[in-house]
């Protein structure tokens, strides 16, 4: 199976819903210690969309991402990926979901440091029995797109932070996931490497139609998104949309800053 050909056939303009989040809540603790991290969030993610999730610390954005990544089970509500409800998945289906349907980009890369870049990238494929040419072709394409061809035979300790994160990105994309979940992907990178990574993710989103959902604190990284959901105290607070073709990134960035200022100085923060 040539996965990249398959991927390239996807139309970025396809407006079908990839992800449906329906009124999910997450409560930690019981009785007096009860904390509601998510208080009923509902939204959809469309195919080919680059969605950003922003909000102050403790607002529930990582809980939301981890719920979608099946790292956390919601207390109530449903999450559907391509019309399949995640809550019904058993062990094998969960493993398949994690390996095939989603790609996860971690803040601290989570590369296996005793394996080369190539071996790290190929892991999700070999876990699902894809080897040989079927693995080599997408590897080659992604390595070219993410500019990591030179480091394929290197170990993580021989790479820069930026290279590590791009290798991690290649790993999360190689299984041709329906959605790429990114948790603060620029959190451990300097400005230059952050920009390189975001440029490449944006390019992959636009040319290959990969749906991306990214949690971030960084307004600059968020300015690459086509839509941003702002969360506060476990609820949706605001939504920003950008017409990627007509609105320059700098302008969108200013709008994000404005919302963030409101978020930081809003009535919720008056004690």
């Amino acid at each position: 199976m040539n996965m990249m050909n398959h991927r390239e056939q996807k139309a970025p303009a396809d407006s079908g819903r990839v992800l449906e989040v329906k009124n999910i809540t997450k409560t930690y603790g019981v009785g007096d210690n009860e904390t509601k991290a998510l208080k009923g969030i509902t939204f959809d993610v469309l195919k080919g969309e680059f969605l950003g999730i922003m909000g102050p610390s403790g607002s529930g954005k990582t809980t939301l991402l981890n719920t979608i990544a099946t790292m956390i089970r919601p207390t109530s509500g449903k999450v559907l990926l391509e019309r399949q409800e995640l809550g019904r998945f058993k062990d094998r289906e969960l493993a398949d979901y994690r390996g095939k349907k989603i790609g996860y980009l971690f803040q601290d890369f989570e590369l296996l440091d005793n394996m080369t870049a190539k071996e790290n990238i190929l892991l999700p494929l070999s876990l699902h029995g894809i080897t040989g040419k079927a693995a080599a072709d997408p590897l080659e394409t992604l390595a070219r797109q993410l500019d990591i061809e030179d480091v394929l035979n290197k170990f993580p300790s021989q790479m820069s932070g930026g290279q590590k994160q791009r290798v991690a990105a290649a790993r999360s994309l190689i299984g041709n996931p329906s959605i790429l979940l990114a948790d603060e992907p620029t959190g451990a990178l300097d400005t230059k490497n952050s920009r390189t990574l975001m440029d490449q993710l944006s390019k992959i989103n636009q040319t290959m139609g990969i749906t991306i959902m990214m949690v971030t604190h960084d307004a600059s990284a968020a300015s690459y998104c086509s839509r941003i959901l702002f969360i506060q105290d476990g609820q949706l607070f605001h939504e920003l949309r950008r017409n990627v073709e007509s609105e320059p990134r700098e302008v969108f960035y200013e709008r994000i800053i404005t919302v963030l200022t409101q978020l930081g100085g809003g009535s919720a923060h008056v004690l």
């Binding site: 493993a95 398949d96 005793n114 876990l127 040989g132």
Partner: protein, 678 residues
């Protein structure tokens, strides 16, 4: 509060670390088993027979105790390191919460004392049961069950065990605590292996090191087999250096070999093949010294146990039991006196052993025929020595009737010599010596007395003419009674009386008790005698001294080597928690992770055991061709059975260790929960 915490932590340690406590208990058992050796049935028995030799052996025990302290220290050190490593986060948290380093050090030492007490409380009864079992088994195995089993509790052994164990544990924990307490809280809180990651060497240098290691090992094997015939330090030292160095280099370079294989297979293998391979490679790269030391310790264990078995059988086979007593008072007719007395029922046979020297003034003797036959045997130092001794030696003669009585008491066919034949006898031990003589006799040998040729029977006779050591004959000729009477200085003279106990008595009281009872009868008669018991005593002493201690050390090395590999493996696996979580996120199933972990463990053990097995074959080969030799008459069935039992025990021990690790790893992977990730 402080002591409560120590108590609580100690209890938690016991619950969570079976292998840790198992190792501590093993250390206690090791000390007590050695120190209580003097109280074993066999040793108590031997003390009455061979008190000087036993005394000397007992003086050796402290030296072995010190050696054991040294090795057990490593066992305890690794066990404690494993246990402390599992508590890194907890210790980091104590520091972060403001615990003083001195207080943490005190807490760890307090826990050590608590753990030691628990290990001693469990270990001492286990040791007692074990030593009792060994005592009984040794006594039964050697056939003296009747000397009476006595429950033995050695207070001195207990005291030294407690002292040694506490010292070893406190020193190990002291060194480890200092190491842990000195670390910064951040270093303790982060327990993932990634921080200490070394770059795997997959280059040609690594392969060259591995190949060099193999060449060195091969050189050591060849040298040990070919050149060690004559024991010499000039050969031994290079063999040891090449062997040890070769083992270290082989493991040092092994990581590179594994890396090259993975590189070749990455694109074609699915599942966790690459991950498993890299894990093994990393483990080998980081732990190559541990692998080498463990392999050498296991080799030492194999050598010790093999030597122990060899010694046990070598000595055991010499105990030709021809008579129960040899009475040396020959001025009265002892046989008649005893056989007509009250104790006649206790005696199966009592006969005079007629053994005498040739009257050289009246007879001429020529051993040319024998000399020629021996010359025809393959050249060796022993053969030349025999040739030198046999020439000009005036030999002893044994009357055929006496020797036939002896053979009859053993249930063997009597001799039928006639006038022109003689048989050769020796009481010298040594399989080489006997096989040269036997070879010469088989080829046809003769002696000449007064010009008359006596053909020698093709068999060599070695059944001892006395019960113990009354006489050791380099060689003697058994001749027909008429010939004997004509040759010896005083044909009427009786060398000694041999006495065999009745089967009924032996059956009723057991051999030992029967000999003791008969001994009393002989004492009452005022007779001077030697008993088979003294022979057994001496024999047993060598068996016990030689085999017991070497087997003890072998088992000790075996346990230490396995514990070290197991603990190192588990410590390392624990640090891979983060990697397994990442794999779960990438879509691996827990069952796959468990399979990978088990494969890693088996490979880790196989890497140690395979090198040990190859080296072990050569070591045992060298041992039995150069250092010790099984007697020609040693029962191969018995030797092979003992070797099979030892091998089976070895396999069982390995399986137990692998089973423990497998369970621990399975538990750790089963407990992984992806929701814990953040």
């Amino acid at each position: 509060m402080f002591f409560k915490q120590i108590f609580r932590n100690g209890r938690k340690n016991i619950k969570n670390n079976g292998l840790f406590f198992g190792s501590l208990v093993a250390a206690v058992v090791a000390f007590y088993t050695l120190l209580s050796m003097g109280e074993q049935d066999v040793m108590r028995f031997l003390r009455t027979m061979e008190s000087d030799a036993v005394q000397k052996l007992m003086m050796l025990i402290p030296a072995i105790y010190v050696v054991s302290l040294f090795f057990v220290f490593f066992l305890v050190y690794f066990a404690c390191a494993y246990q402390l490593d599992g508590r890194r986060r907890e210790l980091g948290m104590y520091l972060m919460l403001g615990m003083k380093r001195s207080r943490m050090f005190g807490m760890l030492m307090g826990e050590t004392v608590f753990n030691s007490v628990i290990a001693l409380v469990i270990g001492l009864p286990v040791s007692l049961i074990l030593t009792e079992c060994v005592s009984l088994a040794t006594a039964r195995g050697i056939g003296m069950g009747i000397i009476g089993h006595k429950f033995s509790l050695s207070l001195t052994a207990i005291l030294w065990t407690v002292a040694g164990f506490l010292a070893v544990q406190l020193i190990a924990m002291f060194l480890l605590s200092i190491r842990f307490v000195r670390q910064e809280p951040a270093a303790l809180l982060k327990s993932d292996v990634s921080e200490t990651q070394k770059l795997p060497k997959t280059g040609k240098v690594g392969v060259a090191i591995a190949v060099a290691g193999m060449v060195m090992l091969a050189a050591a094997y060849i040298l040990s087999i070919q050149q060690m015939g004559i024991f010499s330090y000039i050969v031994l030292i290079p063999v040891l250096i090449l062997g040890i160095w070769g083992t270290f280099w082989l493991y040092k370079g092994m990581g590179a070999l594994i890396g090259r294989r993975i590189m070749k297979k990455t694109m074609s293998r699915s599942g966790l093949y690459t991950f498993t391979g890299r894990q093994i490679q990393e483990n080998v790269l980081h732990q190559y010294k541990v692998l080498a030391v463990a392999s050498l310790l296991l080799l030492l264990a194999i050598a010790c146990v093999s030597y122990g078995i060899g010694v046990a059988f070598g000595r055991g086979a010499e105990s030709g039991h021809s008579a129960d007593f040899t009475i040396t008072d020959t001025d009265q007719d002892v046989a008649e006196e005893l056989l007509s007395g009250d104790s006649a029922w206790m005696i199966k046979d009592c006969y005079a052993m007629r053994l005498g020297h040739m009257d050289i003034d009246s007879h001429t003797y020529n051993a040319e025929g024998m000399y020629k036959a021996i010359s025809g045997q393959p050249q060796s130092d022993i053969r030349d020595n025999i040739l030198e001794n046999i020439q000009g030696r005036i030999d002893y003669f044994i009357a055929e009737s006496s020797y036939n009585r002896l053979l009859a008491s053993l249930g063997k066919e009597p001799l039928d010599l006639g006038e022109n034949r003689a048989a050769m006898y020796t009481s010298m031990s040594g399989s080489d010596f006997q096989s040269i003589l036997a070879g010469a006799l088989k080829d046809g040998a003769s002696i000449e007395i007064d010009g008359k040729t006596y053909e020698l029977l093709p068999e060599l006779y070695t059944d001892n003419v006395v019960a113990d050591r009354q006489i050791t004959l380099y060689n003697a000729y058994i001749v027909a009674d008429e010939v004997y009477d004509s040759l010896v200085t005083d044909p009427e003279e009786i060398f000694a009386y041999n006495l065999s106990l009745s089967d009924a008595l032996v059956e009723e009281s057991g051999l030992m008790q029967a000999i003791l009872e008969m001994g009393q009868v002989l004492d009452n008669c005022g007779l001077h005698y030697e008993s088979y018991l003294a022979g057994i005593g001496r024999n047993l002493f060598y068996t016990v001294a030689g085999s017991y201690i070497t087997i003890y050390l072998g088992v000790l090395f075996l346990i230490i080597a396995n514990t070290v590999i197991s603990l190192k493996y588990l410590i390392w696996q624990r640090k891979n928690h983060g990697r397994y979580m990442t794999l779960l996120m990438l879509g691996a199933r827990k069952s796959e992770l468990a399979r990978s972990a088990v494969r890693q463990m088996y490979t880790f053990f196989t890497l140690v055991l395979s090198v040990t097995a190859v080296s072990g074959v050569f070591a045992v080969w060298c041992l039995f061709t150069n250092f010790t030799r099984l007697p020609a008459n040693a029962s191969m069935v018995h030797v092979l059975s003992a070797a099979a039992v030892a091998f089976a025990a070895f396999v069982v021990i390995e399986c137990i260790y692998m089973g423990v690790i497998r369970r621990a790893t399975g538990r750790a992977i089963g407990a992984l929960d992806i929701t814990d990730r953040r």
